[in-house]
Symmetry: C2
Subunit: 341 residues, 2 copies
């Protein structure tokens, strides 16, 4: 072993408002012995997603918050260094909720967010954590099971250049939606959506009037809105929904770092007037059937039908600041951090 | 004919904020001749409902607004004075969207809110406009088709002493809900809910802490919330919904008279965390199947299983001020105005 200690980023304090680097602390501890039935994994990549901000608040949610002093929860891909577990072999690539640490010794048992899984042959760590990771699977089940996307739909996706939105929008296209429009911030992201991801149009919420652009793109209304942003974006979209249409609430990144919850969508009575169905969902309810999504998404990627993008930062010491990139809107596609070769 | 003229309450100006009596004007005009295929109806009762406030605003909605100078739109029950229409006979009681006027000459053709219908034998005008009227039918389809109420549900209804809420809550009870709790304002309404309408509990939002009381009444969460109020009531209920539960948005009386739309529910991300389904609906989509609801509700009333209450004011000149009673929370059950014997 070249590393004698395990670097860990632990939660030092609960963030108030915008999460800060100082909310985490870097500590080192010895690498535990590998017991019978255990496997020692060296992490190579960390994955970042907006939902991680929610895991830092001590409020009732779909999973308990990360405790003060605990290693920050995150999806990772790593390599098996040694194994006394019948399911894993040395040198194998694996993925799981292994957290912001260089090494982990685990029995691989599934927690509420899944267990330790082999990375399939031919799948890169980047792809495993992006289109085949939690955000890709969220997009898949949100657009299909929850949203019921179907041929002829007029689909709007917010946060469309993010890891979830970019996959969701393309899944709508692959299901025969008549029109797919994405909302993103800035010309680089918007160009990627139309040129690489094959969307019909992209709306730059930073430089365009969203309500006007929605009227132009959806003269007969939006039949399915997949929302990752909430706040003013949701408010505007509610005024442009078609009668009897559907809203999938996937997330609300616009408010994740607010010190106090901002007001909700003032146009919510449009849900009544337009007879909308609004559904929320969480990926963990679909993990048992994840193989279906992984099979479909892998196929689309292999056939060149689904573009995926990753923003790869480098260096274990950058974990907290890489998380911040999500809330600064810097990432195009999946935000990753490479911590070892 | 004893009356030589027809009194009409017409919309004088669009209300700004709280609707005022001066937004309407009383005019008199001659009663038109009864043409071939027409029927002359003398109105006896006007019905009032919160949705009428929405009909006064010139914004896109499920029906066009009442125009300035037009007779105020309202459900009524009247008596046929003379008929040259094969479907109606002199002396018959009829119900329809005949508006705030003493007399109307009409061909009875259905508009978007239904046509002219005979009041069934044995049904009083009051019952026809309350449990069998638009608010009763709204309660029926909202609780059954939209909410999918079923045995064992833990049901919360806001505006529960109103015309829609009181019927909705009892329909939940009649479908075998394990618990039905209503929210209302003041001890008189709350006593009616538990003593007359057979609810398991009533919460007085004016004197009790709603969030605390919801925790007490729903230790395992609300499985179905039927909301007529919106605003802070919706916000609190969102924090007490069970996982995978349903919210039926029927109305939002808390904001109908606000000059500017107030903020929406700040807890709306609970829709995601709790995997809620939120549905809006409008009765007009169910009018074609209304006979089913009328049959069921009539049966329950006849068997003494469904209590109904009406607040009957008297005098044609009181139409605008009777509308205001809804927004002052004065009515227990259906707000009616008797304008003739």
């Amino acid at each position: 072993m070249t590393e004698m200690t395990n670097g860990q980023w632990r939660l030092r304090s609960r963030p108030v408002g915008m999460v800060k680097e100082s909310d985490f602390e870097l500590v080192r501890e010895p690498i535990p012995e590998v017991g019978d039935g255990q496997v020692h994994v060296r992490n190579l990549y960390f994955a970042f997603e907006p939902a991680m901000r929610g895991w830092l608040d001590d409020v009732p949610s779909y999973i308990p918050p990360v405790g003060i002093g605990e290693v920050m929860r995150a999806s990772t891909v790593g390599e098996v260094v040694s194994s006394r577990h019948p399911g894993f072999t040395e040198g194998q690539l694996v993925s799981g909720m292994l957290g912001w640490q260089e090494h982990v010794v685990t029995d691989g048992a599934p927690g509420p967010m899944g267990g330790l899984n082999p990375v399939p042959d031919g799948v890169s760590p980047e792809l495993m954590l992006s289109a085949l990771g939690a955000t890709g699977l969220t997009a898949y089940y949100g657009m299909t099971d929850v949203g019921g996307v179907k041929e002829g739909d007029h689909v709007l996706v917010s946060g469309a250049a993010g890891a979830t939105g970019s996959v969701a929008a393309q899944i709508a296209r692959l299901h025969g939606a008549a029109k797919v429009v994405g909302i993103a911030g800035g010309p680089r992201k918007c160009a990627w959506l139309t040129e690489e991801a094959g969307l019909d149009a992209a709306i730059d919420y930073k430089s365009e009037n969203l309500l006007d652009r929605l009227s132009e793109e959806f003269p007969d209304g939006i039949s399915l809105f997949f929302d990752n942003v909430g706040g003013p974006v949701l408010d505007d979209a509610l005024l442009r929904m078609a009668w009897f249409s559907r809203v999938v609430l996937c997330g609300g990144i616009s408010a994740y770092n607010e010190e106090e919850l901002p007001p909700g969508p003032r146009n919510y009575m449009q849900i009544v007037i337009r007879r909308l169905t609004v559904k929320g969902f969480i990926l963990i309810d679909y993990l048992a059937q994840a193989q279906k999504a992984i099979g479909d998404i892998s196929g689309w990627v292999a056939e060149g039908k689904l573009a995926h993008a990753e923003d790869v930062q480098v260096g274990f010491e950058k974990a907290p600041q890489t998380l911040l990139r999500l809330f600064e809107g810097k990432n195009l596609g999946k935000q990753l951090l490479k911590i070892a070769d």
